[in-house]
């Protein structure tokens, strides 16, 4: 009964979304505010409705209604309560429900306001968001129905269907298969919702951009209105990516955090265009330039968001994320095609209206450097896109399937990331409009001096890898420039306002949140770069089969295999856990507990590394899952990951910098009526 109820609510919401598309279009062309208002109210209703359907599904998951195929495939009796909740996005059908739910939440949040001042944009914002919502709802209704139940047909086969096939009898399993063990991790609780929040929030600026194009508004109003949405989308997308890295590091047991898996790249691509967008809208706000470019960037971001969901959900590419092959692939393809072509056609139609108000003059001006920054992000995007589609292209052209692995991405992207870091250092010191290499040079020489010393010091300390030397020098450059900028600002405040240092710093950042928050985010990026350089360039690994009492050496550490235990855990998994002692220079540093868990219900093993983490390095030990593991012989794989902790520390700094940048400024808020 409940399943039918949930399905009915979904169908109703779908019709409501279609109705608001129609009503908004009619309202716009008939200039009838009543229709627009009807469309707005319909959109307001979608959130409570989808919430109701999602809660129904959550209830069915928690109460173990295994007669539903989705519930059966992602939960089981022995799973704890919180995992049954997270099972909502543990499978294909459920993750689409999450998408629709977030989309409806954002749509309702937007339509909660009446938009008196920007009423002309409203119908088209509703059209774009409703079409997107209706698309995702239709996937749930027609293709990946989370409410479908098991039936046994007259031929004896078990099939999941919403409605009874002829002559079939309903069946109810007593227990389910349980969530994929890899997804039973705290990182997994947050990673998909964060990523989806980021994905879905980017739909809002896109909707306003399209509305601006249709209504012919060529000013930056749409950007100002959606600035906060863009920031929020970007934050969640970034957090989603980093949580995914952390999850991979903790759970997948291969000593790394990022494998250039097509699906990881699919989530990275909208982040790249989104980051470029975040930078280039500043140029439009300040100088009235890059209007066409900003439109293109947000259109690309939207398409890549849908493309990212498509890659994860269609099974087109094989990866750790891909669910089994599914019928929704072609649907996504058609939807992306139609929305992309329509948006670009609109942009071309308005192309002339969106010409820059001033011309770019100097190669060394801030706008030129921002353009360069955008080109670098586009470069990384092209590299990633090429890597993902290369196998498909080569198979089409030559008949030979050829792929490119992680070394391709590392090699092609490293110089681009290096250039981006250099720009992070140079751009804050450049001036708008007219700026020559002389003025830029004058601003740069002070922070350049300590930067120039660093590679010499590193080389003397024995760092001879030139990529490391360049990389760490760039890191130092950005840090010095940023600190120098803070120092310069604080000093001038101290002189002018006669404030002491902490107060001057507080007020400086407080009055210029976007700028100084941005600097903090730059700092956090290079701190992350320290971790990435460390693990990418200096990771070492070794493996050995040990008997109890034997040891293995890596990077000055000695790890001794002490004992092995095997025991069942409350949720049914069987844990095999080794104890290892870590020594350095004969001194005991502590114990590590690498283990692997076996889930008999699903037949899936999961490897959990034992990790000793410090600011200098991580010691990452994997007990290799092997049937003959015993006290007499157990295979271990050990990774030494220098500096990797800075990747996570940088991420915490990133959140702080974001809060500084995005914290609402009260006066400005009143003045501009932002959302």
């Amino acid at each position: 009964m409940l399943a039918q109820f949930g399905f009915g609510v979904f169908a109703l919401t779908f019709l409501l979304a279609l109705f608001s598309v129609g009503a908004a279009v009619v309202g716009y062309f008939d200039k009838s505010d009543r229709w627009v208002e009807a469309a707005r109210r319909a959109m307001l209703l979608t959130f409570p409705l989808v919430t109701l359907a999602a809660l129904t599904l959550a209830y069915l998951l928690v109460t173990g209604h295994y007669e539903l195929q989705y519930v059966y495939s992602v939960t089981s009796n022995d799973m704890p309560f919180y995992l049954k909740i997270t099972a909502l996005w543990g499978g294909q059908a459920g993750s689409l429900v999450l998408w629709s739910w977030l989309m409806s939440a954002f749509v309702s949040a937007v339509t909660l306001r009446k938009w008196e001042r920007d009423r002309e944009l409203l119908p088209w914002v509703i059209v774009v968001t409703s079409i997107t919502l209706a698309f995702f709802l239709s996937l749930s209704i027609f293709y990946e129905n989370p409410f479908a139940r098991w039936w046994q047909t007259t031929a004896g086969d078990f099939v999941p269907r919403m409605f009874a096939p002829a002559g079939a009898i309903p069946v109810s399993p007593a227990d389910g298969q349980g969530l994929n063990p890899l997804l039973r991790h705290p990182g997994m609780i947050l990673h998909p919702p964060m990523l989806y929040l980021g994905f879905v929030a980017f739909v809002i600026p896109f909707a306003f951009a399209i509305a601006a194009l249709v209504t012919g508004r060529s000013d930056d109003r749409w950007i100002r209105l959606t600035r906060r949405w863009t920031l929020v989308a970007w934050l969640f997308l970034s957090l989603g990516l980093v949580l995914g890295m952390r999850w991979a590091y903790d759970v997948l047991g291969w000593g790394g955090y990022w494998a250039w898996d097509p699906v990881e790249i699919a989530a990275l691509m909208p982040w790249l265009t989104g980051t470029a967008f975040l930078h280039s809208v500043m140029i439009q706000e300040k100088r009235g330039m890059f209007k066409q470019w900003n439109m293109l960037l947000i259109i690309l971001t939207y398409s890549l968001v849908i493309f990212g969901t498509f890659l994860t959900r269609s099974g087109v590419l094989s990866s750790v994320h891909a669910f089994s092959e599914s019928a929704i692939g072609p649907m996504f393809f058609v939807f992306i095609g139609i929305t992309f072509v329509t948006s670009v056609a609109l942009l071309i139609y308005r192309w002339k209206d969106l010409r820059a108000e001033v011309e770019m003059k100097s190669l060394f001006s801030r706008e030129a450097l921002f353009l360069l920054n955008n080109l670098m992000f586009m470069g990384v995007l092209i590299v990633c896109f090429w890597g993902v589609i290369f196998p498909l292209i080569s198979e089409l052209v030559t008949g030979q399937k050829v792929t490119v692995g992680p070394p391709f991405y590392q090699r092609a992207n490293a110089p681009l990331f290096g250039a981006l870091m250099a720009l992070m250092g140079i751009a804050p010191l450049s001036a708008w409009g007219k700026s020559t290499y002389k003025t830029l040079g004058r601003a740069l020489w002070k922070p350049s001096i300590p930067t120039a010393i660093l590679p010499l010091v590193l080389a003397l300390l024995g760092v001879h890898n030139w990529i490391a030397l360049v990389g760490f020098t760039l890191v130092a450059f950005v840090i010095f420039v940023t600190l120098f900028e803070f120092w310069r600002g604080v000093r001038s405040r101290q002189k002018k306002q006669n404030e002491n240092f902490p107060i001057a710093l507080w007020r400086l950042a407080g009055h210029n949140r976007r700028r100084y928050g941005g600097y903090l985010i730059h700092l956090s990026m290079v701190v992350m770069a320290i971790g990435i350089l460390g693990i990418e360039l200096y990771q070492t690994t070794t493996q050995k089969t040990l008997a109890v009492g034997e040891d293995i050496q890596i990077a000055g550490y000695t790890l001794r295999y002490d004992s092995l235990a095997q025991f069942p855990y409350t949720d049914g998994r069987i844990v095999t856990r080794a104890v290892m002692s870590v020594f350095q220079n004969g001194k005991l540093l502590g114990e590590l507990y690498p283990r692997y868990d076996y889930y008999p219900a699903s037949g899936q093993p999961m490897t959990i590394a034992g990790v000793r983490s410090t600011l200098a390095d991580d010691l990452y030990v994997v007990l290799v899952n092997w049937e003959n593991v015993s006290e007499a012989q157990a295979p271990f794989k050990v990774y030494h990951n220098p500096l990797v902790n800075w990747l996570w520390i940088g991420n915490l700094m990133f959140i702080f910098g974001f809060l500084v940048a995005a914290w609402p400024e009260r006066e400005e808020e009143k003045r501009e009526g932002k959302i």
Binding site: P173, S324, G379, W386, P391, Q543
Partner: protein, 172 residues
């Protein structure tokens, strides 16, 4: 007037040249990185027919694990086994009655081309008779395929994702 026009053209020229240089650099990066890191997907038959021309290239090869040939020394972590040819494309696999049937046929047919794989590392549990192996590595002069560390990926044809209810109670 003349002067400002000329400086305008000059101004634009330097941006166009700069843009083209950057574009060229990005294309160069992509082309060179692709060439250096391309990994060729192959079946055992394709590999055998191309022979020694492939020595040194990055290859990714798939086949069916022949159970009797698996040899593993836990002390040295040396693992060797043979794989038998299975067709590469999905349509052929579907024609052969699904992956499990195709793998079974490959292993039991003595006339199938086989390839010896050498891998250094722990023996994966999934390395069993009639499992599908996807191996990245390179072909040696000796005709043996040397797998990269982490270059061994195994799949068992039983996909639990698609399983149907096992403990069924009739009715609601």
């Amino acid at each position: 007037m003349q002067k400002s026009l000329r400086s305008g053209i000059q101004g634009r020229a330097k941006f166009i040249i700069g843009g083209l240089l950057i574009l060229a650099a990005i294309i160069y990066l992509i082309v060179s990185a692709t060439q250096a890191n391309a990994e060729y997907f192959m079946t055992v038959d394709e590999l055998k027919s191309k022979g020694n021309t492939l020595v040194g290239r990055n290859l990714r090869i798939s086949g069916a694990v022949v159970g009797d040939t698996i040899q593993y020394n836990p002390q040295t972590m040396n693992l060797t086994f043979d794989i038998a040819h299975v067709p590469g494309d999905n349509a052929a696999i579907e024609m052969g009655g699904g992956l499990a049937a195709v793998l079974h046929a490959a292993v039991t047919d003595p006339s199938r081309a086989r390839l010896t794989i050498v891998y250094n590392g722990p023996k994966p549990d999934l390395l069993r008779d009639e499992a599908q192996a996807i191996i990245t590595g390179h072909l040696g002069d000796d005709g043996i395929f040397y797998a990269d560390s982490d270059g061994l990926l195994l799949k068992c044809p039983t996909k639990y994702q698609e399983a149907v209810p096992s403990q069924v109670v009739n009715g609601n």
